[in-house]
Amino acid sequence: LVFTEEDKYGLYSNLLFKYFLAEGIVCGHELFVASAKEHPDNILKELPAPLLDNTYRKELGDEGAAVKSEDFQDSMKIAWRYQNLPKVEASPTTHTKFGHYYDISKKMPPELCQSVKWHSFYLHEELSVEPKMKPCNMNSGYAKLLHSIQRIISQEGFDGSDPQKKQRNVLRIGIQSLGSILWGDDVCCSDAPEDPHSLTKFLYVLRGLLRKSLSACIITVPTHLIQNKAIMERVTNLSDMVVGLESFIGSERETNPLYKDYHGLVHVHQIPRLNSLICDVSDTKDLAFRLKRKLFTIE
């Protein structure tokens, strides 16, 4: 469960969200996109176009190392690590062909988008039928989303415990701006939210669904709006990976000469420690990102 703290205007976290989905399409995975803000159909129309092998070198020239989404096997249940980024590289490494590259100035061709199966959840379009989930005092928007995810997992063959003969695939779940007021949660509006447990319960159940299925999930949350520190701590403990994006827009760092080549910082708050005593900690912990015309890079 990759928990992404949105940058103030959601620009860059949205970009990462789209990279995650784009990589899913290029890998042939199935997608599940949920949002209360933007219709998933529109999100999918705005994905970056993949760069083909022989053109990417030409495109990238001597720009820094590109963000690579991880290309993973069916057996993994977790999305996405930044650990495999080379530390400081002038050009993309050739020995780790790990994922694909994208050109954000171009949109993904519709034929490619349609080559995979995808499911959408747009809160405002969901029927007002009560979710078939036993009550557990959770915000109804979250409950509907969980029910929807659970249904796709069990009906489309992503349940790891289900014996089945057909070829298994991976389900990539992307949930946009969770916790925002659009989901009916006031955790981003108030220091003492009316229902402080809905978000954490949601994450717990989601974690359970991810653990038992062949899926990976990224959620973006406008944490800069969450004033209650306790909730942030709890949410971190319930996630596998927590990454925060801090953009320089409107901050004093914008004019700091140290950061003149960059648009923001990447904070890796937590990395997964799964199936092992150790976790894969990289040597570099100071990461910054920049957005060029074609490429989003993290260095």
């Binding site: 557990c136 029910h147 306790a230 701590e233 709890r234 199936n275 092992s276 912990k285």
Partner: protein, 247 residues
């Protein structure tokens, strides 16, 4: 026997201690009830195998009772209607009442005729999750209290519980639970991330507090501090400032 050990982590992941105690007590031949709230069975199994213990085999021979919280939660919320009378340990998700969880623990560890295990052990990873799931701090403390009465006093067994704690987080409910547990623990193992930040050779510091004052009024607690580094199959401890990288 009859000891309550509190595992505590601040700004770091103390789960290596949980893995240690799990394999330690299983190897010692104890009957273990493991309330695993945050990770899957296979996660613990894979690590336990590296530490030389098979959880699957322990479960098979009745030595390990494993409550996989994530899975039980899904069964509760999305499963078919349960038969009446069936125990539901995670019932508190709907009722905020932890009694069912306590009953589960008590029943799991009460010796059955023919059992030859050496002493029962309750292991919980991690207690802080209960608060995230809507349980009130008082309910959590009551749950622990009942477990202690049952497991430590009646059954003469041991309890090991992991909690997260971070004063900066201003999580008053959690700090309340942690402080209360500290007062009643016989042994506290407190893993902390280094104040200076991440370091490749020293993953953290562990404070071992033997609460001698708990049993004997005039006694003072014994505090030892070590630093540690976690490896694939092992954790090495060393005196502060004396990691292998430095020497």
């Amino acid at each position: 026997q009859g000891k309550f050990t509190l595992l505590r982590d601040t700004r770091t992941d103390g789960s290596f201690l949980v893995h240690h105690f799990l394999s330690f007590y299983l190897r010692a031949g104890c009957k273990v009830c493991f309330v695993a709230l945050l990770q899957s069975f296979s996660h613990y199994n894979i690590v336990a195998q590296k530490l030389g213990v098979s959880l699957a085999a322990a479960k098979e021979r009745g030595q390990l009772v494993f409550l996989e919280g994530l899975k039980s939660c899904l069964d509760l919320l999305f499963g078919e209607e349960e038969q009446p009378g069936q125990p539901i340990p995670l019932q508190f998700l709907s009722t905020s009442d932890l009694r069912a969880l306590f009953d589960f623990v008590r029943v799991s560890l009460t010796p059955v005729d023919g059992d030859s295990w050496k002493g029962p052990v309750l292991l919980v990873d991690d207690l802080s999750v209960l608060l995230s799931l809507g349980a009130a701090p008082v309910a959590v403390l009551d749950f622990i209290h009942y477990c202690r009465m049952s497991v430590c006093y009646q059954l003469k067994g041991n309890i090991v519980v992991l909690v997260h704690s971070n004063e900066d987080a201003e999580d008053e409910e959690n700090e309340l639970v942690v402080n209360s547990l500290c007062h009643h623990s016989d042994l506290i193992l407190w893993a902390e991330g280094l104040a200076t930040g991440f370091c490749k050779d020293v993953h953290g510091q562990i404070k071992i507090i033997k609460r001698l004052s708990l049993r004997q009024a005039a006694e003072k607690d014994l505090v030892q501090i070590y630093q540690y580094k976690i490896q694939d199959r092992n954790v090495t401890f060393f005196a502060r400032g004396l990691s292998a990288a430095v020497l």
